[in-house]
Amino acid sequence: MNKTECNGACGITRPLRNRCGFTLIELLVVIAIIAILIALLVPAVQKVRESAARLQCGNNLKQLGLALHGYHDANKKFPPGTDCSTSGWTSSTPNLEWVYFFHYLLPYFEQPGYFQALGAGKWTLNPPWITGGPWAPLYDVTLPVLLCPSDPGNAISTHASNTVPLARSNYLGFFSGTKDSHNWLQTYLANQRGFFTQGIARALTMMQVTDGTSNTTVVGEYVRGKDIADARGWFYSNRASNQFLYVTGTPNTATPDNLISFSVGYCSTGYNTPSQPCVIDDSGSGQNNFISSRSFHSGGVNTLFGDGRVQFIANSISLTTWQSLAWVTDGNAVGDY
């Protein structure tokens, strides 16, 4: 009885062996097939994970684009790159070097609390590295819209700010010229006007972007640095890797970012890595510093254009095209990208 049932279930009659089951070869074949399927699946899952993160990063940029346009609708011009005119840290009281275009956009990406804590547009605080105390309400507050999930770096930085931890960003505005002194002194070449520059008076209207907003890059991706003391992505100072992003080099270029060194934070020991290459340059108190757009995505960076669209730009884009996109009045025909 038992034997008949077994033969029926297996569907094969084996007259020589009174046994039901699989042979070793059959089992091995099945295991091998399963192994191959898993091997195919695992890299696919990893890729989906990264591509989801990349989409999230692009979506954040889109939010910034909408906020910029919301600001333009209400104020008839885009926000200034930073408040300071020139050589900000020696002159005015309070020192408004820290004010970045993000701070103008806070109400437009639904951060009214943050906006209120900073003075709601009437900026009155001195920078966090001079007076730490009044910044206390913002300690540890992160802004998810400014953070790209592909980047393993810290969301806040304690850098050089009297131990005041403040939010950092994976997105920085493209500034005029190709190095810090170009913005401090506003001495960039005539055809190197970027979307952002230092100084309230130099905020652009849409009409002033004569190349057309759809041909102009506005905000690019950058990395958040190696650890909590790393200054990269900490958007409170008039320096490359803090507020200033340039098109000196193409996305994710092997050309190292050129950073100031003082004390700790910028390109300290161990901060120069293949994905975030950097070198120290203190000459002229950092006037030659520059950075290039960087990300942890494979093959390129997300970039926000003036018309509010987000495009993934390949690392292989030619320098000429990359710079023509960033200069707002150069009049150059833009090649393929």
Binding site: E97, A160, T253, N272, S283, G286
Partner: protein, 142 residues
């Protein structure tokens, strides 16, 4: 006849292998030695900037103990490049660090160790080809 089919399959397979390299195919690896007045540059940077007419991204590397090396996947695409080489040296003075260092922070003052004709107003030009390139630079302050 089966033999011929195998051979065809193999050829096709080889073709896929070769064509699969994609983006890095036309890029070149670059390496070399940089000296200033016959002394190796301890730390600095070198960048390769495409001149007009060369459709390439930028590339470069950190110079350590006089040597630099750029892998092929991050290297420049074949063409003519302007080369900028930077390094600093201490002047011996101490100066205020400036923001965002806390007020009163002092640092060593540094200046460019390499003349402007090798960086901001560089006249150095090199041809980069697909494959491996070796370019040594003997700079002089005179």
């Amino acid at each position: 006849m089966p033999h011929v089919t195998n051979c065809r399959a193999l050829t096709l397979f080889c073709f896929f292998l070769v064509s699969g390299c994609g983006e890095s195919r036309s890029r070149g690896a670059v390496s070399g030695i940089v000296t200033l007045d016959d002394v190796a540059i301890e730390t600095g940077s070198i960048s390769f900037i495409p001149v007009e007419g060369t459709n390439s991204p930028t590339s470069g590397a950190v110079i350590a103990m006089g040597k630099y090396e750029i892998s092929r996947e991050k290297g420049p695409i074949a063409g003519t490049f302007r080369v900028e080489i930077r390094a600093q040296r201490k002047t011996g003075n101490r100066i205020a660090a400036g923001s965002p260092a806390p007020p009163g922070t002092m640092i060593d003052e540094t200046e460019d160790a390499i003349p402007a004709r090798y960086n901001s107003e560089s006249t150095l030009r090199v041809e980069i080809t697909t494959g491996s390139n070796s370019h040594n630079f003997k700079l002089s302050t005179k």
